[in-house]
């Protein structure tokens, strides 16, 4: 990894240079929530944000996304937009993108996703956890790859980690605004990381979790929470690793339709419905449990499908807490 330093005084210039790479999207505050939006100046950014409502997945798998334009029998692929910068992505969200990569770039690669991934320049940023974060226990609190450059906050600027060829190129071409890292910077970096590690309030006991959950299929805890759950699907829409989609053709004018895909959620009763009215997950209990099994599927190579970002807790209107449900299921087993 290459490390360089970005002094605070160069920060505005750094931002301007990023704008030359492509449109810049970053976290913007809206009352008590944050969203990734297009930003034109650093004043619009909220770099000390906790989490955005929708994770960066919305730039790669859009909530509504046109795939093809259909005119009679003529089908043309809808092209993606140009280059863009995702500014200020937290480590957990970078891990979320890596999980999506595994699905969308595996054979056969999804061309829409692949194109947007190639077009994206990802700038990571360090953060302080709040009461919902539990990324530390999942090992997603630090990103070793999956970004182009990563900014770590220092008292007088940023320690920059360069994570890809694209990142190298950017730093190379903009040498004038970067400096070498000093020993003091490293000390400050270490201090920040130590302070951050101590700030986590929530943790997930993942010891043997996958097997425990599998064994607890009939646990009463699922039932208890499925009764509290409103089935709204918020937890799936905001999750950086949830990516179920539905496809439908919509007519835009006579003889012209768009084949669209849009977010779907396994909390919707239609998710497991097939023709003839047979539903493979007919009850809320089936659907509630399914989400936990999907998020906590343990891939020996890549770990869990949850990155501990805490969105599902923050945006659940029934105040159902992910870690608490899992802990209770574990306790209920013995």
């Amino acid at each position: 990894m290459r490390y360089v330093k970005l002094h605070s005084e160069y920060f505005p210039e750094f931002f301007n240079r990023l704008k030359e790479v492509g449109r810049v999207y970053g976290p913007v505050r809206h009352n008590s929530t944050y969203r990734f939006e297009e930003v034109n100046s650093i004043d619009e950014l909220s770099l000390d944000y906790t989490r955005t409502i929708l994770p960066p997945k919305k730039f790669f798998i859009r909530p509504r996304d046109a795939m093809f334009k259909i005119q009679k029998n003529e089908v043309t692929e809808v092209d993606g937009d140009g280059k863009f910068v995702l500014f200020g992505v937290h480590s957990c969200d970078i891990h979320g993108i890596k999980i999506l990569d595994k699905v969308y770039l595996s054979n056969p690669p999804d061309p829409y996703y692949e194109r947007r991934r190639k077009n994206a320049f990802i700038v990571g940023i360090s953060c302080m956890p709040d009461e919902y974060c539990f990324c530390k226990s999942l090992g997603t609190d630090f990103a070793m790859d999956g970004f182009d450059i990563f900014l770590h906050e220092l008292p007088d600027g940023w320690l920059v980690r360069v994570g890809s060829v694209k990142g190298h190129e950017f730093v190379w071409e903009n040498q004038d605004i970067f400096d070498d890292v000093t020993e003091e910077d490293l000390r400050n970096f270490k201090e920040f990381e130590e302070k951050r590690a101590k700030a986590f309030k929530k943790s997930l006991n993942k010891e043997g979790l996958a097997d425990i959950l599998d064994l607890a299929f009939t646990s009463k805890v699922w039932k208890k929470y499925a009764e509290k759950c409103l089935g709204c699907g918020n937890c799936t829409i905001v999750c950086p690793t949830c990516r179920c989609y539905e496809v439908c053709d919509t007519w835009v004018r006579a003889y012209e339709a768009l084949r669209m895909r849009r977010y779907d959620s396994c909390f919707m009763p239609t998710h497991g419905l097939v023709a003839g009215g047979h539903n493979f997950r007919p009850t809320r209990l089936d659907r509630f449990r399914h989400r936990y099994y999907c998020k906590n599927y343990f891939d020996p190579e890549a770990g869990f499908n949850c990155v501990g970002c805490g969105r599902c807790d923050e945006f659940c209107p029934a105040r159902i807490e992910h870690v608490k449900v899992l802990d209770e299921v574990r306790e209920g087993l013995i």
């Binding site: 795939m67 093809f68 259909i70 009679k72 029998n73 089908v75 692929e77 699905v103 969308y104 595996s106 056969p108 690669p109 999804d110 061309p111 979790l209 996958a210 097997d211 959950l213 599998d214 299929f217 990516r243 179920c244 989609y245 539905e246 496809v247 439908c248 053709d249 007519w251 339709a257 895909r261 779907d264 396994c266 998710h271 497991g272 419905l273 097939v274 023709a275 003839g276 047979h278 493979f280 936990y292 099994y293 999907c294 906590n296 599927y297 343990f298």
Partner: protein
């Protein structure tokens, strides 16, 4: 390459099989695709009616034969739409998808095909492939239908009831609703046709369980009973293959609809299946 793009195919023949099912014969417009389109019995395609939507359908013809055929039951919006289409109309086809049955592995063994209702569609592909290739010991087909009127590929089934033994193929049929036609059929083939459900057809049959494979396709309720019958006879779970259905959108493991299983084992029906063994069912909750 966009894996969601379908190829143009012309409907070259529409045949009414029953009041609900039609058989569509297709030819790709592009000659190269038409010549090179191959698949394994048990695989499926996604049918694309441009401007209206897509849905998965099993290939019901044998890869040894042309044209490729799809047997489609009219159940809802999209299938109703295609039922109104005629010879000459163009649809889109993408695929083939899924793993299909391991036809090579099963060479030299007995094949026991067990079909319930529409389950006959994918198994017809296996049936004709096995008959055409001549590489299998003996082929059994146990087919359970609601009534005489619901028998899919009725001509072929009756032909096989009559002449199947010459093709090394032993066909039996169970029907649930008694109608004059059924009684007539039963009289003609008293050994092979009876009133009852598909498991009733096992009565009096002896298989060499060491050298047989069972291939099952039918409505979700059927699997449990058929599998119990096969296990009771000593067939190993690894020799029991079944093909499953789920809601599907992408067909290539992206849209998430067909995911089953739990934290230790998740399977995509579209790409890990739709054919699974009973071992898979034992290790993946919710598969059947």
């Amino acid at each position: 390459m966009n894996p969601y793009r379908s190829y143009d195919a012309r409907i070259i023949e529409v045949k009414e099989l029953t009041s609900r099912e039609k058989l569509f014969s297709l030819k790709f417009l592009d000659n190269e695709i038409e010549e090179n389109f191959t698949f394994k019995p048990g695989q499926f395609v996604i049918v694309d009616i441009r401007g209206f939507g897509e849905f998965p359908i099993s290939l019901c013809s044998s890869p040894t034969r042309r044209p490729i055929q799809l047997c489609i039951r009219r159940v809802g919006r999209m299938t109703k739409f295609i039922h109104k289409m005629n010879e000459g109309d163009i649809i889109g086809i993408r695929g083939p998808y899924g793993n299909g049955f391991p036809m090579d592995l099963m060479e030299g063994s007995n094949l026991i095909l067990i079909a319930g209702g529409l389950g006959m569609a994918p198994l017809r592909s296996v049936l004709w492939y096995a008959i055409d290739s001549g590489k299998y010991e003996k082929i059994y087909l146990f087919y359970g239908t609601k009534s005489y009127e619901d028998i899919l590929f009725r001509d072929e089934i009756i032909h096989l009831l009559k002449h199947g033994e010459k093709l090394n193929c032993h066909v039996k049929l169970a029907y649930e609703v008694e109608t004059p036609s059924c009684i007539y059929l039963e009289r003609g083939f008293s050994e092979k046709v009876c009133k009852g459900v598909v498991t009733d057809l096992f009565r009096g049959e002896e298989f060499d369980v060491e050298n047989s494979y069972a291939l099952i396709c039918g409505p979700p309720v059927m699997y449990k009973y058929v599998i119990r019958e096969l296990l009771d006879r000593g067939l190993s779970p690894g020799r029991i293959y079944m093909t499953l259905e789920r809601r599907m959108r992408c067909g290539v493991g992206k849209c998430g609809h067909c995911i089953v299983g739990t934290s230790v084992s998740i399977k995509y029906i579209c790409k890990d299946g739709p054919v699974f063994t009973y071992w898979d069912a034992l290790s993946t909750r919710g598969l059947i």
